[in-house]
């Protein structure tokens, strides 16, 4: 009996060890692994974790081996006399109090050093990004650059980045495992002065280029599971190009003219299989930044207000905050994307969404500038395919229950149904997917 038991327990331990090895070896295949950080923040956190793990797993193995030895060695044997009645041993008990205490010190000291090391104030040259959590999407504001992005953001490699986190509604938690540990995204109590009592900071310097996914980690309501995001760590030049595009929008008149001249340009680009490009493939297009005087930082739209059920923002009450860049109508033959753009701008879409370079300046929903480059629609609700985007516009509740986005026939977030026809939906989806 006892030998049988011994094998089972041993087998379990072996299985556990195999898991560990398998997990570490195959780390590259897990896009949200914490084992392979792409930033020094995650590396510092892992270093102190491995120190703790080495000590504690050592103790654990000692205890488990001792336990197995004891139950095997002292199992009942037929001729065994009644055991000696020992009530304790002071020296032994002092020993197994003092030795663990010393180990606790060996674990605690590096831990505390790392706590203070990773929570230092940001250096002056850090790129500051405001991260705002919404039910259930992410807003990224670059105050110094005058750029707002939704659900995806870009940072330059090897430059310190300071994320300042707060929430527009409930408590969320910002977590991109490859960068480092998460921090809660708290709503801000109304206090006087410039104190921000629960605004959290994450300071990291990414040293590896790539696109890394993350998601909300604090339960925040019905579709908490569909609150994903992507960080693109890119070279300084690519980052500058991205900022430029986000300021000006991609549907400049140049681009539109180009589109008009290219037949079939509205077909899903590089997407005939119906699959969105993999996250790792979504590196930014290497377009040259448009150096124009008009590209000076734009004033940011007002911060998105907290979710208000019943409040219907009037679309007409939101005048464009700057002169409309290119004319709404492009004379002559119109592509699907151009038609979609006209519909988008003339419907209630603009009440909530902003697209740089157009008069769409809504601030209640995610910014849609360069939507065509994103792998997902609805912050991870579905892949960004023509069919899914159409489905999203038609009936977003079917992909993401609880979302505030109204559908063609369903109200949402205090907005009435959009009453878009299937053809209009197709054209809008085509337009949005052309925003690259």
């Amino acid at each position: 009996m006892s030998k049988f038991r011994f094998r089972r327990v041993g087998g379990l331990l072996t299985l556990a060890a195999l898991f560990f090895v398998a997990a570490c070896e195959a780390g590259g295949d897990f896009p949200q692994t914490t084992f392979r950080p792409a930033a020094e923040l995650g590396e510092k956190q892992n270093a102190v974790f491995y120190n703790t793990t080495a000590w504690t797993v050592g103790i654990m193995l000692l205890v488990e081996v001792l336990l197995l030895y004891v139950i095997w060695r002292y199992r009942e044997k037929p001729s065994q006399p009644h055991p000696e009645q020992i009530h304790g041993n002071t020296k032994l008990e002092i020993a197994w109090t003092v030795i663990p205490s010393i180990i606790v010190v060996l674990i605690a000291v590096p831990t505390i050093l790392t706590i203070f090391d990773t929570q230092k104030p940001a250096p002056d040259d850090a790129l500051r990004i405001e991260v705002i959590g919404h039910q259930w999407w992410w807003e990224f504001r670059y105050p110094e650059e005058g750029v707002v992005a939704g659900n995806e953001f870009y940072v330059p490699v090897n430059r310190p980045v300071e994320l300042r986190l707060h929430s527009a509604d409930v408590v969320h938690s910002f977590w991109i495992p490859k960068l480092g540990g998460k921090r809660d995204v708290n709503p801000q109590p109304a206090v006087t002065g410039d104190r921000e009592p629960h605004t959290n900071q994450i300071l990291f310097t990414a040293h590896e280029e790539g696109s890394f996914t993350g998601q909300c980690a604090e339960f925040c309501g019905e579709s908490h599971a569909i609150m994903r995001m992507i960080v693109h760590v890119v070279s300084e030049a690519e980052y500058d190009a991205w900022i430029e595009q986000m300021r000006s929008g991609t549907t400049s008149s140049d681009m539109l003219t180009q589109l008009a001249r290219t037949p079939g340009a509205t077909a899903p680009v590089g997407d005939t299989t119906g699959r969105a490009p993999e996250v790792g493939d979504s590196a930014p297009p290497r377009t040259q930044p448009q150096v124009e005087p008009a590209a000076s930082p734009q004033p940011l739209p007002a911060p998105a207000p907290a979710r208000q059920i019943g409040a219907i923002p009037a679309p007409t009450g939101m005048p464009p905050s700057r002169p409309e860049v290119p004319a709404l109508m492009v004379p002559g033959a119109q592509t699907d994307a151009e038609l979609g753009r006209e519909i988008f701008l003339s419907k209630t879409c603009v009440a909530c969404h902003a697209i740089a370079g157009t008069r769409a300046q809504g601030a209640l929903g995610p910014v849609l500038t360069r939507f065509g480059t994103r792998p997902w629609v609805g912050a991870g609700a579905a892949r960004n395919t023509q069919a899914n985007v159409e489905q999203w516009i038609r009936d977003p509740q079917s992909l993401k229950p609880g979302t505030l986005m109204p559908g063609a026939h369903t109200p949402g977030g205090g907005m009435p149904p959009t009453n878009l026809t299937d053809e209009e939906i197709r054209l809008i989806a085509t337009y949005l997917r052309s925003l690259k």
Binding site: L12, Q32, T34, T53, Q85, I107, P177
Partner: protein, 604 residues
């Protein structure tokens, strides 16, 4: 009255005869019957919580699964946590306290028998109320931690969180009363000669747990008041727009929530500290240190709550403080583990099913303790928290710790409860199936978490590449379910068909084994006088004679219907806050008042 007519009619009070059947069960004040009621109710909810767990695991067996809608999933995981903590973990421990503490300390009942019955009925009605939410399709859906401000009417407009807030308020009342009762019992009602340092370790842990109950649950009550005031009367404690602060909720909740963890685990420590010495045929090694470490855990347990909140953002100084306090608590916990090992060392270990569970508990609880120290490493806690790594950790503590201990306790004390053994062959097979299923479920979760899967998500992207591990976990959950079914089958079969057991089938040392199996209503014919920590190993002859001999003249309290009556009133007082008019809760308050007055004037 309850005097023992057959033996001592001269001392019988004039009072109603003890009712029989169902009427006896609803009016009983006998700690043993109340213990059985608590136990049966908790085991029933263990099945409910287990089914909820299986639904969760079916949903997560593959990415982007549509088995449950997000709202239903959120209700299920909220109710799984709430059920397992408040309707299983605490009451199952209280069940064993009820049955065993008076027997272990040589008393005839608890200090306040009717209060004990009241605790049970309030607990039962609170539990039924909470689960009645399923009938409205509005089970609580904000997580067992109910974080503000998601729990506000603005973000949770339905009845769901009303059920949660009011239900927990009701359950808290029951636990606080239970705590008062056990503290009084253990301090005041010990048999002659049973000094505090002779009290069996299980009863000691019951005492520490009871102190935690009467101190921690009021904190939860305060938090729930703030929340329900916000929801029902428009106060704005957690509304940032009005200068409120949701982080206050987190502090209050975890200030309750961490002592709660020790409320759940200390009884398990007590159980294992009884089973291991009995089956090793050796006294508990380092009894005094085991007592002190339990007390110390209870005290330090009050200073670690914010380790649940490292990601909330408290600043490095608070992070450092709670890191250190949390790591310190590992030391008394480790001492307990080493003392259990030393108790077995040099023993003559009998591997019955109870001992298998106890040893299994030591093995798995150690793993949970170790991952607890990993959590305390607060810089990396930011990677771990709110992921499956945390789920793995606390299931190793609460299932590997508490549930394994409870199953062991069931096998160990079943002969005392019923006079019959549970089937050992079925028991051992069930242990191995459960133990393997348990590890298969929760061991992979460590990696699932560190590979990037957060908690409380109804779906996960296929791109996370975690389907294989999640399927392993789901398979493990179903293997555990088989083990549980085997255990329940064993209980039901053994009630009727189990082999007869005498008063002390395991040759254990503590007083409960001096009584008959099952004990008579008055427990001890004559209250024994004890002179040692292991009375039945040292002075069995005299004590067994006292316990099982001719009963001395005594008075036992009569049955009472006022506890269940009053419990209805207390429950209604809370429940009717969900009614449309302001005056409806007054019905419950008036009802309670009637119950209390009649209670006060009832002759006992």
């Amino acid at each position: 009255m309850a005097t023992i007519e057959a033996h001592a009619p001269a001392h019988a009070h004039a009072g109603p005869a003890r009712p029989t059947g169902i009427r006896d069960w609803i009016s009983t004040v006998d700690h043993k019957k109340i213990g059985i009621l608590y136990g049966a109710t908790a085991l029933f909810f263990f099945l409910v919580g287990g089914i909820e767990a299986l639904l969760i695991r079916i949903q997560l067996a593959k990415p982007e699964n549509a088995f449950l809608s997000p709202d239903v999933y959120n209700q299920i995981f909220t109710m799984h946590g709430t059920t397992m903590v408040f309707l299983v973990g605490m009451p199952i421990a209280v069940a064993f306290f009820n049955y065993l503490v008076p027997l272990q300390i040589g008393a005839r009942d608890v200090a306040f028998p009717r209060l004990n019955a009241l605790s049970y009925w309030i607990f039962l009605f609170g539990a039924l109320f909470m689960n009645a939410s399923f009938l409205f399709g509005a089970a609580p859906n904000g997580g067992w931690f109910g974080y503000a401000n998601l729990s506000s009417t603005q973000y949770s407009p339905g009845l769901n969180m009303d059920f949660w807030g009011l239900g927990l308020q009701i359950l808290g009342v029951a636990s606080i009363m239970g705590g008062v009762n056990f503290i009084t019992t253990i301090i005041n009602m010990r048999a002659p000669g049973m000094r505090m340092m002779r009290v069996p370790l299980f009863s000691w842990m019951a005492l520490v747990t009871s102190f935690l109950m009467i101190t921690a649950l009021p904190v939860l009550a305060v938090a729930l008041f703030l929340m329900t005031f916000d929801r029902f009367w428009g106060t704005r404690f957690f509304d940032v727009a009005a200068g409120g602060d949701p982080v206050i909720w987190q502090h209050l909740f975890w200030m309750f929530g961490h002592p709660e963890v020790y409320i759940l685990i200390l009884p398990a420590f007590g159980i294992v500290s009884e089973i291991i010495p009995t089956n090793s045929r050796k006294p508990l090694f380092g009894y005094a240190v085991m007592v002190y470490s339990g007390v110390l855990i209870g005290i330090i347990g009050w200073g670690v709550w914010a380790h649940h909140m490292f990601a909330t953002g408290m600043g490095p100084i608070a992070d450092a403080f709670f890191t250190i306090s949390t790591m310190i608590i590992a030391i008394p916990t480790g001492v307990k583990i080493f003392n259990w090992l030393a108790t077995m060392w040099g023993g003559k270990i009998r591997f019955n099913t109870a001992m298998l569970y106890a040893v299994g508990m030591v093995a798995t609880f150690t793993i949970g303790g170790i991952s607890g120290v990993m959590h305390a490493t607060s810089p990396h806690n930011l990677q771990q928290t709110d992921t499956y790594f945390v789920i793995a950790h606390f299931h190793y503590v609460l299932v590997g710790g508490l549930v394994l201990a409870i199953f062991g306790a069931l096998y160990h004390w079943f002969p005392k409860f019923t006079g019959r053994f549970m089937d050992e062959r079925l028991g051992k097979a069930g242990f191995w199936i459960y133990f393997i299923g348990f590890n298969m479920t929760f061991m992979p979760m460590h990696w699932i978490g560190l590979l990037g899967m957060p908690r409380r998500i109804f779906t996960y992207g296929a791109d996370l590449n975690l389907e294989g591990l999640n399927q392993l976990v789901t398979a493990g959950a179903f293997i555990q379910a088989i083990g549980v079914i085997m255990l329940f089958t064993n209980v039901i079969l053994s009630l009727k068909r189990g082999q007869k057991a005498g008063p002390n089938p395991w040759h254990a040392a503590t007083l409960e084994w001096a009584t008959e199996s099952p004990p008579r209503e008055y427990n001890f014919a004559k209250i024994p006088t004890v002179h040692s920590r292991e009375p039945l190993w040292v002075e069995a002859e005299q004590i067994e004679k006292d316990a099982r001999g001719e009963p001395e003249p005594m008075h036992m309290p009569p049955n009472s219907y006022w506890p269940i009556f009053t419990a209805v009133g207390v429950t209604l007082s809370c429940v009717l806050f969900m009614a449309p008019s302001w005056w409806e809760p007054l019905i419950g308050i008036a009802w309670t008042f009637v119950g209390v007055v009649n209670w006060a004037y009832e002759p006992t």
